[in-house]
């Protein structure tokens, strides 16, 4: 390993990258855009959900129930006169859920427990929007149960309450979706963008002939590899810092754990991703092909890495596939640091795994750089 040669290679890479306006634009705008886009995307907060209501009872209890449902803006009750109108609205997608309160609601409620059927409230969800419905379900059931119980309690008709459950969220008590998505966005950007940019860069060099020229110089494959990924790694590390700042200042999401540790781990993961980019470039003839391959590869990577969809909810077999992606582990680590403030000690196994991936990928990439022999 000749340090002068390495320095020469690194210097050139940095010069070329910083002078390419297109690459620089992509490197800055894409991570920021991703942050902003994803930051707003996931909200478990059920808010302003249009709830169709057919109130056949029109009693104080039923009105109270409806008022309570709309109280915090969780649901926006919309009255309908007939059941048919309600159903039509559901089909048209104008309302996301509906409740039908029976005519004897009040009486049944108060008399419940004494030789009377409990009042039956029908709740219909628009299952066409499954995610939405799933989120709404929890809220709605709890609200209805609590409100009804409250109504009874106030009337002194305490028919013996059920068990009271106090639920608290450790980390992210408001269950705000933004920190979750923000911490995942790092994984997305550093997996996707790195692979893309490296692949294109190398393929372009192959097409212009500079790569071949490099192989004829005394530079070794290792030097060429490091001369490529170290500067790119540094550039992306700056990107990470930028993202942390923007996430903090604009979205008000700061890592719970150590920022330095986070940047270090992220930088290492970048190197791993860059290795992957090198491998893709070795198998592509044109830049467009490299991009298409990167995208094709990144789709399952993003979907399965736990970025947006929980891995444990996937079939066993798929979970194993997910574990093969380095991105999965990095996202786990970045979420652990951002949301739970975990430190290097507890994250050791994951970090070791990332290291292993890094060695394997970079080793393979090294082989692809060796002149074709």
């Amino acid at each position: 390993m000749n340090w002068r040669r390495l320095r020469t290679l690194i210097r050139r890479e940095i010069l070329a990258t910083f002078r390419d306006p297109f690459t620089m634009t992509i490197l800055v705008t894409v991570p920021l855009a991703a942050l902003l886009v994803f930051g707003f995307v996931l909200s478990t907060e059920v808010k302003g959900l249009r709830l169709g209501v057919v109130d056949a009872a029109r009693s104080s209890a039923s009105r109270r129930l409806i008022a309570e449902l709309g109280a915090k803006g969780t649901f926006v009750p919309q009255p309908f006169n007939t059941r048919a109108a309600l159903e039509a609205a559901l089909v048209a997608g104008n309302i996301s859920a509906a409740i039908v309160i029976p005519p004897d609601f009040d009486r049944d409620l108060r008399a419940a427990g004494v030789a009377r059927e409990r009042p039956q409230v029908q709740v219909i969800y628009d299952g066409g929007e499954a995610t939405l419905a799933g989120n709404a379900e929890g809220f709605l059931r709890t609200l209805i149960a609590n409100t009804s119980a409250a109504v009874l309690a106030d009337d002194g008709v305490g028919a013996g309450r059920g068990i009271e459950v106090v639920t608290r969220a450790l980390f992210n008590p408001t269950l705000d979706g933004t920190p979750f998505m923000v911490s995942g966005t790092f994984g997305f950007v550093l997996s996707f963008l790195t692979v893309l940019i490296t692949a294109v860069s190398i393929v372009t060099e192959k097409i212009t002939g500079t790569f071949e020229q490099l192989q004829v110089t005394p530079a070794t494959s290792l030097e060429i590899l490091l001369g490529k990924i170290l500067p790119m790694g540094a550039v992306f590390a700056l990107d990470v810092v930028l993202m942390v700042l923007v996430a903090g200042l604009v979205l008000h999401v700061w890592p719970r754990g150590s920022v330095v540790f986070f940047v270090l781990v992220s930088s290492f993961y970048v190197l791993v991703s860059l290795g992957l980019g090198l491998i893709i470039s070795a198998t592509s003839a044109t830049a467009a092909e490299a991009v298409q391959k990167s995208v094709l590869f990144s789709i399952p990577l993003v979907q399965l890495s736990g970025f947006a969809f929980p891995i444990r909810s996937m079939p066993r077999f798929v979970q194993w596939i997910a574990e093969v992606f380095p991105a999965t582990h990095y996202i786990r680590v970045s979420r652990a640091i951002y949301m739970r403030g975990e430190g290097p000690i507890t994250l050791l196994p994951e970090l070791a795994l990332l290291l292993l991936f890094g060695i394997l990928l970079v080793g393979y990439a090294l082989r692809t750089i060796e002149a074709r022999r």
């Binding site: 409230v121 066409g128 929007e129 059931r141 639920t167 991009v291 094709l296 979907q303």
Partner: protein
Amino acid sequence: MTGRRRSFWSNVAAVAYKEASLVRHDKALLATVFAQPVMMFLLMGFALSNKPADVRWAVLDQSNTTLSRRLVQEIQATGYFVTPRPVWSHEAGRQLLLQGDALAFLVIPKDFRRNVERGRPQVQVLVDGSDPLQAARVGAYIGEVVARFDLPHAAGAVAGASRPPLAVSAAGPVDMRQRFWFNPTLLDRTFFLAALAGMLLTNLCMSVTSGGLVAERESGTYEQMLALPTTPIELVLGKLVPYVGLSYAVFLFATIAPGVVFGLWPHGSWLALILVTLPFVLASLAVGVFVSTLAHTSAQSVFITVFFILPSFVLSGVMFPYQFMPRGVREVGGLFPLRWYQIALRRIIERGAGLVDVAGPLLALIVLFAVILSAIRWRMKPRLG
């Protein structure tokens, strides 16, 4: 007048024919056309779900009575949870949450049994709020089981006696009958697969056209093309035509595969589906063409396209509910053709709507197409001047 119109269409046809033969030889494109749809179908159909599963949780059962144990069992019986990890202190449970080894931590206090008799039982649940969606649902599931829990009351329940036929022993004061229309078991798969056509077509249309024009510009045939006696509109339409055919092939796959494999056939009108697909495909293709007028190299154009597809997927509502996005963001999402298409798709496929019901989205798509087309015209004008 007729002569001119005939020339228009024959020009379009000529350009279309040339484009089609190019497509046939583009291996990378064909790979994308075949590989991506299958991959996304597999992912959406088999892998992705928001429903909690195999949830790891911990229990600190300080009461340790038949009652408390039954509560734990009932929670586990919901099927969402694995066997809970017993812990012996608050700290131990919190530690598990801290390390991401458990999503929920249930604490049953020591005097649970006595509190039941007194009529004021309470338990505590601590959830890992990192993944708020999971946290909310898991919390709700536990909460629900707890609320439903069959309590033997001091006044009248005798161990082993027949249960009172009425209310108190059952869940809360209200009997909630719950139904999920259009998706009775609330499968996320149904939700995702309904919009599969939208996702695949967006990918296809934008990648395809953005590569095309730029490649021509690079190879020099672009100038050649401009020298032909065709108007820009004829050029653009001619280029788009073969891809429309390809798009419909992909659309058929996206609509039929879920039906064949999962039995998820569209409930609504096929005609509506086919009709609403057209302006969407045209709009997406047009976006691709527009992108290609912006890029100088083919690598650039693919870059730009990819970064247009991304927000399109995220903000349109195919994967994440758009209804909950902040006001401004939601509106921005409306600028993407995919938003309107997925609304129409879900309405028709899941809710069985007809052509009339999707008139709104259909109109929106046509308007978007017209707008993008004029943007293209505006970009191409100086070059032909």
